[in-house]
């Protein structure tokens, strides 16, 4: 039985293991345990939030930026507020 379970490692876990070993440690959130950085998340701070947008103006997924779920939520809220106020784009023209 134990052997069978060992064989059943999912592809996702395998990838995870490869990434951990391959690229020197996993992702880390730049806001967790870092109140100074976390305080920068604010809808008025558009220059900072711009770093969390793609070229087309979409919100950068946390799987790319490594932001933890909690701060990704706060970031997304701030970005959406800034968009309403015209500080950040909803989408950028593709040129």
């Amino acid at each position: 039985m134990t052997k069978k379970i060992k064989l059943k490692i999912s592809a996702r876990l395998l990838k995870k293991r490869v990434r951990r070993q391959g690229f020197g440690g996993g992702k880390h959130c730049r806001f967790a345990n870092n109140p100074e950085q976390a305080a920068l998340i604010d809808y008025k701070n558009a220059t900072f939030l711009r770093g969390f947008l793609t070229e087309r103006g979409k919100i950068l997924p946390s799987r790319i930026s490594g932001t933890s779920a909690r701060y990704q939520r706060l970031l997304a809220q701030a970005i959406r507020k800034a968009r309403v106020m015209g500080l950040l784009p909803y989408s950028s023209p593709n040129n």
Partner: protein, 142 residues
């Protein structure tokens, strides 16, 4: 318990100083009427908007901060004052609650007024520079 609020207001780029002053007075009067206190009224300056709003590429931001004990009526009145349909100057507004113990420091993007001279602004800037030098000369004469 006193609550602290913050209102960011986006106005048309053509807003004059008188109109801005008028807006400040209106807000100040409203806040005073409801026994609150105005903490600050700041002009951020002119900004290029991320997208066209009411066919304007540019806009001027104002940040208003105030405190109030029983804010419901005040917020309702502010809503009427800022109402986009009724106000020709204001394009967007956003009122948020601030942490009363938190610091008032914040970061904002650089406004066009602060960015060093660009070609389209050169003519304006040189004119104002000339005005300045004339004034200075007059002072020296005195």
């Amino acid at each position: 318990m006193v609550k602290r609020y913050e209102a960011l207001v986006l106005t048309v780029p053509t807003i004059t100083q008188d109109e801005a002053k008028n807006l400040e007075n209106q807000v100040a009067r409203l806040v005073a009427d409801h026994k609150g206190s105005l903490v600050s009224f700041e002009r951020w300056g002119k900004y290029r908007l991320a997208y066209e709003i009411r066919k304007n590429d540019y806009g001027v931001y104002f940040l208003i901060r105030f405190e109030a004990e029983k804010p419901h009526a005040l917020l309702e009145d502010l809503k009427h004052l800022f109402a986009v349909k009724l106000n020709d100057l204001i394009m967007r507004d956003m009122v948020t609650v601030l942490n009363p113990k938190g610091s008032l420091a914040y970061n904002r993007p650089q406004s066009l007024d602060e960015i060093p001279v660009r070609e389209s602004y050169v003519s304006d800037r040189t004119e104002s520079a000339e005005d300045m030098s004339e004034e200075e000369l007059e002072i020296e004469k005195d």
